[in-house]
């Protein structure tokens, strides 16, 4: 860049006045210092990970007097998200047997895959309890994505479900 090659061009003794070799050299050190300073600064401040997003479509608010589609209760799996990252799940609606699992790979994912294979046109109801955290909801939606379950909905928890959790918890401590 700043170094101009002095060799070549013309014979040796043509009597041209040449500039001295060292005169064209610029001391680039300060410029390089500055360049690297800026480089370091921008490298450290840049964040490449743009946030990801998860699209979610909530069901429309039902209008009054409009009949809702009926679902076979045998095909409904309900997941109750509770505190301490616990998931209570059951199949069907009347007199269900509640089981507990967690968010690990062998927990809810395996269960969902099993249910999905066993039940055709399964519908999953996700009911986050009041003491669940936002992370649980995102995690379970993510599991729906991973296990490729298309029919699911986030529903408000009912008192019946709260009782089921309580009953399950009570039964567990009694057996211990």
């Amino acid at each position: 860049m700043s170094e101009v090659q002095q060799q070549g061009g013309g014979g040796k003794g043509d009597g041209k006045v040449r500039s001295k070799k060292s005169s064209t050299r610029i001391d680039m050190t300060p410029m390089v210092d500055l360049a690297f300073l800026l480089l370091t600064f921008f490298m450290l401040t840049t964040t490449f990970n743009k946030p990801q997003t998860m699209e979610i479509i909530m069901p429309e608010k039902p209008k009054e007097e409009e009949d809702q589609p009926l679902v076979n209760e045998k095909k409904v799996v309900t997941l109750l998200l509770s505190k301490d990252d616990k998931i209570y799940y059951y199949q069907g609606i009347t007199d269900p047997t509640v089981e507990v699992t967690n968010f690990s790979k062998d927990g809810i994912r395996k269960i969902l895959l099993d249910y999905n294979a066993a039940i055709k046109d399964m519908t999953v109801l996700i009911k986050p309890a009041d003491d669940s955290r936002y992370k649980n909801v995102v995690d379970i939606l993510d599991e729906m994505n991973i296990t490729n379950i298309k029919r699911y909905a986030i529903v408000d928890i009912t008192p019946v479900d709260k009782n089921l959790i309580k009953k399950k918890d009570g039964g567990e401590t009694a057996t211990k």
Partner: protein
């Protein structure tokens, strides 16, 4: 003395390629860097495997902090000014042009309407001191968030709504926001998450 003199120019190496590269990188980073505006709350987003990227423009962000306070942010300086005028008209709060201009440049905020004017009158340094914003009211009794949503959708019909929640926020706070959105017929919205680290599973 018979000493062999070292050639003067030999130890200086040619730095040109290095400088070229350094400046190339500097230019690259300078052009790609976008400074994130300072947010009033730090939000630790949950991670997911979703790989949809959030678009850059026409985004309305509703932030839910760890404590459940709701913050509102929208991009587009011009639409923000329109939004503030509409909100002021609805709630009977008069905003001066200076306040509107300041609002247009504000990062996300979580204040009820009656406290917003006082907040905008503060100097930028004083505004940074306000660390505990109460959040926009969005319960069933007093819901200002729905007005913000409706008015911003009028100001910018192309708007997409994104919810950015802290992973450890309690669900009822999130439920209130989602309920507000569904009530306003916003059935399709985005949840902002981090990318799941694949090493985890």
């Amino acid at each position: 003395m018979g000493k062999i003199k070292v050639h003067r120019t030999s130890p200086s190496l040619d730095m040109t390629p290095m400088v070229d590269l350094a400046f190339l990188l500097v230019t690259f980073f300078m052009l790609t860097t976008k400074f994130a505006p300072e947010e009033p709350v730090a939000v630790d987003m949950p991670s997911s495997t979703s790989e949809i990227r959030l678009p850059d423009t026409d985004i309305l962000t509703i932030t839910i902090s760890k404590t459940g306070a709701v913050f509102f942010n929208m991009d587009g300086n011009y639409t923000r000014a329109t939004l503030l005028r509409k909100m002021g008209a609805k709630y009977g709060v008069e905003f001066t042009p200076e306040e509107t201009a300041r609002f247009a440049l504000l990062p996300s905020f979580g204040l009820p309407m009656n406290a917003l004017k006082g907040y905008l009158d503060l100097s930028p340094d004083e505004r940074k001191q306000v660390t505990n914003q109460p959040g926009i009211p969005c319960d069933s009794v007093h819901n200002e968030l729905q007005d913000w949503i409706v008015m911003s959708r009028i100001s910018n019909p192309k708007l997409r709504i994104a919810v950015k929640g802290d992973g450890s926020a309690n669900y009822p706070a999130v439920k209130d926001v989602i309920k507000t959105l569904v009530d306003r017929k916003v059935n399709r919205f985005n949840l902002i998450t981090n990318l799941e680290r694949t090493a985890k599973d």
